[in-house]
Symmetry: C5
Subunit: 355 residues, 5 copies
Amino acid sequence: MAKMIKKRSKKAGLPPGTLVHIGEQRAEASKITVINYDDADYHEKQLKSVEECFPYKDKPSMTWLNIDGIHQKEILEKLSGCFGFHPLVMEDIMNTDQRPKMEDYADYLYIVLKMLYYNEKENRISTEQVSLIVAPHTVISFQEGLEGDVFGSLRERLKNDKGRIRKMGADYLAYSMIDAVVDSYFMILEKLGEKIELLEEELISDPGMKTLHDIHYLKREMIFLRKAVWPLREVISMMARGESPLIHESMKLYLRDVYDHTIQVIDTIETLRDMVTGMLDIYLSSVSNRLNAVMKVLTIIATIFIPLTFIVGVYGMNFRYMPELEWRLGYPLVWFVMLVIGISMLIVFRKKNWL
Amino acid sequence: MAKMIKKRSKKAGLPPGTLVHIGEQRAEASKITVINYDDADYHEKQLKSVEECFPYKDKPSMTWLNIDGIHQKEILEKLSGCFGFHPLVMEDIMNTDQRPKMEDYADYLYIVLKMLYYNEKENRISTEQVSLIVAPHTVISFQEGLEGDVFGSLRERLKNDKGRIRKMGADYLAYSMIDAVVDSYFMILEKLGEKIELLEEELISDPGMKTLHDIHYLKREMIFLRKAVWPLREVISMMARGESPLIHESMKLYLRDVYDHTIQVIDTIETLRDMVTGMLDIYLSSVSNRLNAVMKVLTIIATIFIPLTFIVGVYGMNFRYMPELEWRLGYPLVWFVMLVIGISMLIVFRKKNWL
Amino acid sequence: MAKMIKKRSKKAGLPPGTLVHIGEQRAEASKITVINYDDADYHEKQLKSVEECFPYKDKPSMTWLNIDGIHQKEILEKLSGCFGFHPLVMEDIMNTDQRPKMEDYADYLYIVLKMLYYNEKENRISTEQVSLIVAPHTVISFQEGLEGDVFGSLRERLKNDKGRIRKMGADYLAYSMIDAVVDSYFMILEKLGEKIELLEEELISDPGMKTLHDIHYLKREMIFLRKAVWPLREVISMMARGESPLIHESMKLYLRDVYDHTIQVIDTIETLRDMVTGMLDIYLSSVSNRLNAVMKVLTIIATIFIPLTFIVGVYGMNFRYMPELEWRLGYPLVWFVMLVIGISMLIVFRKKNWL
Amino acid sequence: MAKMIKKRSKKAGLPPGTLVHIGEQRAEASKITVINYDDADYHEKQLKSVEECFPYKDKPSMTWLNIDGIHQKEILEKLSGCFGFHPLVMEDIMNTDQRPKMEDYADYLYIVLKMLYYNEKENRISTEQVSLIVAPHTVISFQEGLEGDVFGSLRERLKNDKGRIRKMGADYLAYSMIDAVVDSYFMILEKLGEKIELLEEELISDPGMKTLHDIHYLKREMIFLRKAVWPLREVISMMARGESPLIHESMKLYLRDVYDHTIQVIDTIETLRDMVTGMLDIYLSSVSNRLNAVMKVLTIIATIFIPLTFIVGVYGMNFRYMPELEWRLGYPLVWFVMLVIGISMLIVFRKKNWL
Amino acid sequence: MAKMIKKRSKKAGLPPGTLVHIGEQRAEASKITVINYDDADYHEKQLKSVEECFPYKDKPSMTWLNIDGIHQKEILEKLSGCFGFHPLVMEDIMNTDQRPKMEDYADYLYIVLKMLYYNEKENRISTEQVSLIVAPHTVISFQEGLEGDVFGSLRERLKNDKGRIRKMGADYLAYSMIDAVVDSYFMILEKLGEKIELLEEELISDPGMKTLHDIHYLKREMIFLRKAVWPLREVISMMARGESPLIHESMKLYLRDVYDHTIQVIDTIETLRDMVTGMLDIYLSSVSNRLNAVMKVLTIIATIFIPLTFIVGVYGMNFRYMPELEWRLGYPLVWFVMLVIGISMLIVFRKKNWL
């Protein structure tokens, strides 16, 4: 979990706008892909050098430039030089420790998103930062370069579907990408929901220290998730407020839709948190209930046998003058007395509801 | 409870406006009912096909179109084609995982509500999404298709009561439906109130792990309820703000009334939550009180008899030279000493308030 | 406490404005009293029928009409017919499950208050809803009809005191009634303060399950109180905002004064709540402290005597060849060893601070 | 603590503006002191009757009138008559159960402050209400009449210091008094800080029920303090907003300064509260840690000796045919077996980290 | 921790604007350094007396004046006299008990920051107040005079880097200093992250009272940190609002960037707090789990051997007539019975999941 605190310290003291990669390097070399399309045509190409993408800058058709791997600062510098981006934008792209945000640089919008995956192998949520630059006719996306992304079906639609999406501009493409990201959150929530269900069963059948650690781990993942999703609300509502000419009036309905989905995700996170908190309470209660059960058994056995052991101790004494020892019925009498004591104790316990 | 997280993942990657049913399919085929009325007339008819309702579109009299079952996407597509609804509206209608909301599409309003039932068989609250489209002269309602709804008495009033409701427009009908939904929440609250009362008695008479689980279950149902009711406040206040020409000025008083009811429902939910939280505290306290009681008994018995058992052990030793063993009054003396010790211990315990 | 949830379900499905009494019927028949006064004159009369009050409607002198008992819907209907009140107002008057609120119907204001009494017999706070209708020259108050109200001294002042109050209008009378209600809250707070003091003493002297239940009961009464007082703040600040011509500019100072009192009541409730929460903590701590004390005694007795009992057990064995048994000083030696063990254990416990 | 709820009930039912003293009477007779000064002159006089102060009303030089003891309603009535104060102001001055507040009566401002002292004898914070009336050229202060106040050094500065303060008006004097009050809060905070330090040491060395009660007492004093300081923020920011012509533009910097101090006081109170809450957690943990330590000792002693006592019990049986009893080495063998059992148990406990 | 409450009481009663040093004196004599630069030149000089810096006042090139050590009031008075600062500013500079804030004095801005260091020796965060005065062409910084500060690399950039920073004005320099301070917070967060990781391991391997105290200490440091960082948000957003002509429009992007970093710091603090709170829960649970484990062992041993010890006690009685004692197989039979009892108990415990 301490990974939540990324090594940012290497940036301390550097001037603003210095490009330093903060985060894990997840790919060998950056991969640059360009998708160029309009109503009629569609081209997809993997570029060998960053310079190859410069000609797309002035094309009237839509261009989606995707960069996988953000650790190579030469590529970002060249892009920035060509498109004229602010150094602070480039700095933020390389720093994967950003909150989701939107910044309006008049000529273009800079948007930061968090893509979440459920890492089946390590059994935890992993995160990847996606930066979008939305300019007229152009969307540039920057990913950290994990295997795959959530935009697969979006690419399919661009390729095959000659409808709406091919006619629309950069704002619609950016919206579609945000929508894809938010949709992927629902999958994470389902996964967490399943985990919670499993833990609830474990909680009833066999709760132990492991259950407790699992509950806490889940709680932390929820904090993690919330941190990634919560600021997105603000991002989308900023976009929908329509102050930038880069986002057309007609996008409002779509943005409201994805805003609703974000609210739903946040709502569900809150609900899951409440559920996990409730589980913690149940865990603690069942632990103390168990202690109670154990104590009762001890008490019953001990309170019955301690007095009886005392009695047999009495007649184990070696005094010369102990009349009872000489009685014919001494021994059975002692047994009788002890039985009476034992049984009456059992009755008392029953009445106290301890059995 | 994991049902709170509906399987939305099948929608991931689809373009916005794609009709996919999310939720349980609760009816075989959709049932379409039309109620057409004005001040003088009233007709009610069950339609065989969706096309039959198209003629009602341009009638000057009020039309209430009710669709039970929202899983058949052809019906929604045809309706949408005839009335000119936005694809996002149709998408939201089929997705039962919505929060209550209102959206203003200029020509019509789209309202989402949650109908709640107390499911006596499964002893839990079940929920059904109701979508309303309010257009001039027309209200279209979409239900999931559970047996029955909360609009029975509303239909009665429309049929028999020639008064106010038959003279008013679509806004009043929509208001009446919201009012019916909010009224039904009070019944759920009463049910929960009864459950809480039962649990409180159980808490005093015989609290156990089951009580704990019941308390937590109740707590969750409260979260559930809150999630359904809370956003409704915003919906009604948006309607009352009167920005849409579809809602007449004269509706304000009525909307304020139903708004008040919603606030009352929310208030009561908060109160019930506080009560349930208090019950949890009492439960935990009574568990630890019980442990205390058990420990006291153990301690009293043990602390009295352990020293006495030691004493009788002493005189059970087989040393050749033990003068006490030869004394005439050795045995009664030991009894006397032991009685003194036992009784003085009881006195100490009494003074310490342990008996 | 489940009484917090009143039987509202009987209203479900009825059209808005239907008069249904919700709450306990506290009086046999409604009692109508009229007080008519101006600077010079004062009349007080108990009316036999509601029609008798109609002539007061157009008098230029101030009229205070008080109705005790709100379960007779004929009376309300007649009043409403004469004065022209909105059906929703009449509906709210009969429904005692309202939050304090103010509604501005242009011609008159509708105000809901909660009167609180400390019910000495049942040892709990009981509540009564007071509805005020403030029209020019007329204030109509509706009470549920418990024995007495908090307006006794207000009536005295009207009767005897020819000063300010007799010269002022309906707004001042309404303000005086709200002031009387808020003043009565201070008495409830004093009562609760006394109860808390008693409980604190009990908490120190002899805490038990009863104390716990009392603390929780108090906590609930606080929730109850808060629910009644909190919305009043908003009511008074709405009145003071001076948007209604029914409330004169000169009333502002008085309304600010009663607003301050309300804030003080709320403040005190919050303080009392904090105190009660602190008491709960102390209760739980003292329970676990007690358990500790009990456990210590058990441990001390057991750890001292268990080893000693073992030793005497050793010399109670019947082996033929046990040299110690034959020693002259065997017996005193064993006693000496046991004393050394016992005393050194006591020293250890002392050092561990257990004694 | 129940003193937090002052006996206000004696006011119930009285008309607004009735002068009733609420609070303790702390002085025999009220003491009236007048300080009159301008740039050049300074006079200080103790008045014998309230009438003596009337001439100061129209002097062009600054007058500070201080009244110690607010229980004599004649004095307040006369003052009010001379200066023309509103009856509600006089009522509030006599009621010491006010929150800090500021009221703008156009001709004068009415300000309520809480002066706090650390009462060394009773080891608790005691409070005194100070009311200020700020008119042009005049400040009237009303105190409850405890021994001394926090304005000593302010008087010194007025007397000796011919600088700034003697040139400024009533607003600066009022500001200086508020500043003196806020400065005195820092002394209370230091006192509380010391108490917390002492309690922390006690918590580590020897925590008991007394520690718990002390922590709770501290917590309450914090609530108390917060109640006195929190509303002051609003008072000062209202003054600084500069809506009253009685407060000059040039005062803004000074008011911002004292506002900052108030925020600092509130900040520190919050920090202290967090610390006290943390102490409560530590207390509870150390109590349960102790229980653990006690239980471990019991368990170790008992689990070692109970089996051994069983073994010696076996050979204390009186069966005629028990071959071991006849063995030559029976006795040492039993000792050997018991030592093996005891030591191996110790090893197990060591491994379980219980020793 | 009580150091959080600084000795402010020595200021009580003094007039506003009095220079009193509040805080530790950390340097012998104040050290004054001046850096003067423009696009082309760079001078750095340590001054011997404060008067030497007066000539810089009217230079057109940028001047950064740094004062280490704020306890010498003569220096501040002289500076103030030369530059014309308000006495309240000087008072605040000497009082190290400020919250981060910005004050706009038209001619200059006064900014308070908190520099945080991780004190490796004492293993805790230590704090140092930095005051900035931003005037046209001049920034004056006041430090408490600890060894070193966080501006080292900023000085390097000024010296070597002829780019942007040398061309910009006082606003950019002030921004760079704030940026350096915020950057240093990330280092503190990493340090805390490491501490948390270590504590988490300790929590799993060997939790004790020390762990608890460490967790609480960490919690306090978090409160401390939060207090220093939280108000900074407001400071930066005030600067970015651009109401002062001292801050150019072009700074907005940079201020938004440092604002983002501040939000990130606050976010991380919140996350760390949640983590620490979770650790406390785990600690408490593992303590009670341990108690459970201990109790189980005690219960198992005791419940098995107590009945067996009773049995052997029975046959240790000395009754003359005890037929079993005479049986040939009495002794082995008793062993057999005892084995049966012991083993069946073990089976029961196994089934109850206690082993």
